[in-house]
Amino acid sequence: MQSLPAIPNIFKQKPGDGAPHRFQENLMIFLFLLPALILFLLFVIFPIFSSIYYSFFNWKGFGPAVDYVGLDNYKNILNDKVFMIAVRNAFLLIALSLFVQLPLSMMLAVLVGRDLPGRVFFRTIFFLPYVLSEVIAALMWLFILNPDPNRGFVNAIIVFFGGDAQPWLGSTNLVLLAIFAALTWKYFGYHMLLFMTGLQNIPKEIEEAGVVDGANAFQNFFFITLPLLASTIRTSVYISVLGSIQQFIMVWIMTRGGPVNASETMATYMYRFGFVRFQLGYGSAVAIYMFLLCLIFSLIYLHLTRKPDPLSGIE
């Protein structure tokens, strides 16, 4: 640390010495921020504005954009039934995540609790699907959802118990549920992990005090644990909502948005117009809609998180 030779410097310092020191420090701040700022402005901020610009054009991507169409792209998107299916699917996925996946993850976190023998083992296994790539997860589910009971395990089980094989990914009614099952398989472990951390942050004494005061397990959970988990629940909701809006890879691999657009999401819709049909202006307008949707949810989230968390005491 070379502490000793450094000490005399302090005594040598004259009143004017601060200025070059300050300059050095500013230079360091500038150089430290520079790489992050360049990459961020060029690849995250600038694209937002360039896609706003292109969204006013009918542009196929060759040469400069000249065919100005005003708000036509935005209007046409809202008039497209397929886009509306994508919006409906996003909200369906959000609803399913919030009312099925989130309670399931929370229940499992509570079951594992603080001191169940083997809790780390269960956590490790339940979290494994989250770490696998979406490509691998999607292909695994593509295999087990095969409509032929001799190839798809899910139908084999149903037939074994005397039911009828279902076409899952081939049925406009079932496809979204089937995809949701795959998504839950992949992501419940992550939410469970969040809840396990949240539960661990609740002081044991608070729950024990509830028991001493005569609360049964249900009362203890609903009136003590649940309110104290509020901030974890908000985080989990936020991640689910944003994830549902931008769902792409699992859907693209399992169904390409089909059959007959039944599993279309906004991201698959954008990808189709942007990268398959090369209607870049139209695709940009879709991206702007998605961005606005995320922005609105984020602002609502920020507004909600301003409320103080009961465990953090004073904000």
Binding site: L108, L111, F143, T235, I253, S298
Partner: protein, 292 residues
Amino acid sequence: MQKTTPHRSSWNTRKIFQRFLQYFVLVTVLVAVFVPITILVFGALKTRGELMTSPYTVPMPPRWENIIAVLTSPSYTFWAMLRNSLMVMLATTTGVVVICSLAAFVFARMRFRMKGAIFQLFTLGLMFPITIAILPVYFVLRQLNPYVPLIDSLWGVIIVQIAFQLSGNILILRGFFTAIPTELQDAAYIDGCTAFDFFWRILLPLAKPALAAVAALTMIMSWNDLLVPLVIINSDKLWTLPLGTMQFQGQYGQDLALVSAFVAISALPTVIFYLIAERQIVSGLTAGAIKG
């Protein structure tokens, strides 16, 4: 004493019943998690014919033909994909750790004008995930292409991956850096350290667990990413593992045993890495979620 004994034993039976219920639910979920994985591994270890006639039995004896075929056939180029994925992952992770720790240090420990505003700008990135941004980002890459060829290049994948990891990881690291006591910084300055000395010799070594968490998370993200390579890479020589896996399934989809073998092998590095770095991944994720 005698009065409490019966009460105690009834408490114990209740406790045992409760434990039984807990394990019953957890094991059921465990089985559900393992079903798709098991079916895949079974498929990978059977011949095509075996998979047709007895799809759900344990592969006894295991057949390694498909695995060997995937690993050795020159037309599948598994090793090339593995190399591409490794290169992208290492470059992206190095870039993210270096760039984010520099920026996070400045935000956590230095005072300057516009600090709040610049930091807010970075947090804006959290609301603009790559899936939504991919088309606009593609425009930028195309505009840059005459000067810096990033399309159909692994560098393009690396740069875009880094750019979209900045917001989250700067936030995580800033949290960790802020938690290191100010007294340490004061002591270092009194000892004649410059701000850079403090950053390089004191803060970074202390923040190793945080850096490891960020690195582990970035590695997983980069390794699993399909969208960015899908949009940027055209030539099959440059396919990464997820992109190659998807293309392989498209090409050989009829041969389920072969595809299963390919998918299983391409999942193996992630599983091994996860078992080694679980602690870092978990701590990075929980820190990220709580700060974010």
